[in-house]
Symmetry: C2
Subunit: 184 residues, 2 copies
DNA sequence: GTCTATAATTTGATAGAC
DNA sequence: GTCTATCAAATTATAGAC
């Protein structure tokens, strides 16, 4: 099936691009590197994404969709706010362990002043989506850590420390601490 | 004076390089961009820093020295732990407002997997230094936020959110919250 | 220390055949 | 959709004159 194969190739390109960006930032990716890793030529990557910002935007948008899909809705759940934030932290911890890379939006957010507008817009949209999810997850919660921006900040920063110092416990400890100081 | 002029030029190069890196990451800087901004040729930049990782390393090391110098020693002070962390947060907030850029180590830490070893080593050294400063600053402190790694994580992440969403209050609010939950 | 000149490589991007 | 071929520009880096 043509459609299937197209999707697979597109996914492969996005997979490699996401992986590279999450490890070294937007400027650490090149069409050639991606093409080689996928097993095609750089001109074929250009066919799917004419400009580099098209590729970057697509990577972020797919990341955003996948992320919320994995997390699920925070409203329909029977969990407590504490459990939801714990799940958010587990998602990041698992992602850090499995991919050996931090949140895509964290890397791109850190270098946002040097990004194409199209990519930046997608990053901003993702962060707003993530903040909204966290706000909803915190409905009815209290305590020192019960604030969406604060929780996201702590987790993003802990990922930076974890990857820079090669110590995943930085993230785990931050999540533990956050979760502990959310009261229902 | 030759020495004076040399130092000024060297400082200018490091100034421009730091500014560019803090805005767009390590790969967003080029010898030509730096040279143009300083008012010299790229080969002259190579004279001072043969390889790009030499430049990157020097930028981080100077940043580390300046940072602790601005903060001062956390031990000889008569301040409470709360006041010291507040001062750390103010340093970052002021730096964000003045330079329009986040912490150098945060940007480079986020893309650490794509950095030259020499630069990475300097970033790790800076983070360890910063964590040690914060640990000493927290001597005798308690409460939900009284942990060096946690505090640094929250501040670094809050800077990412602040710059990505163009809202410096993210950092200010994080600092306020952290400071509020350190008990002496 | 800075310059000119230049090399070698990489990069984002396009044209056109299949 | 993918390929070959190619391009213009940019990048890191070096050699040698001043």
């Amino acid at each position: 099936m043509i459609t299937k194969q197209t999707n697979d190739r597109l996914s492969s390109i996005l997979d490699v691009a996401e992986s590279h960006i999450r490890r070294g930032g937007f400027n650490a990716v090149s069409f050639r590197d991606i093409a080689t890793a996928v097993g095609i030529k750089s001109s074929s990557v250009h066919y799917h994404f004419p400009h580099k910002h098209d590729l970057g935007k697509a990577v972020v948008e797919r990341y955003a969709i996948n992320f919320v899909e994995v997390l699920g809705s925070p409203i329909n759940s029977l969990e407590t706010p504490t459990m939801r934030i714990e799940r958010l932290g587990a998602a990041y911890s698992g992602s850090l362990a499995q991919d050996g890379a931090i949140c895509l939006a964290c890397v791109l957010g850190a270098e946002s002043a040097g990004l194409p507008e199209e990519v930046n817009g997608a990053v901003i949209a993702f962060f707003k989506q993530l903040l909204q999810w966290t706000e909803e997850a915190l409905t009815g919660a209290q305590g020192p850590a019960a604030d969406a921006s604060y929780i996201i900040s702590a987790m993003q920063g802990a990922m930076v420390l974890s990857i820079a110092l090669n110590d995943p416990r930085k993230l785990e400890e931050a999540v533990t601490r956050l979760v502990r100081f959310i009261e229902v």
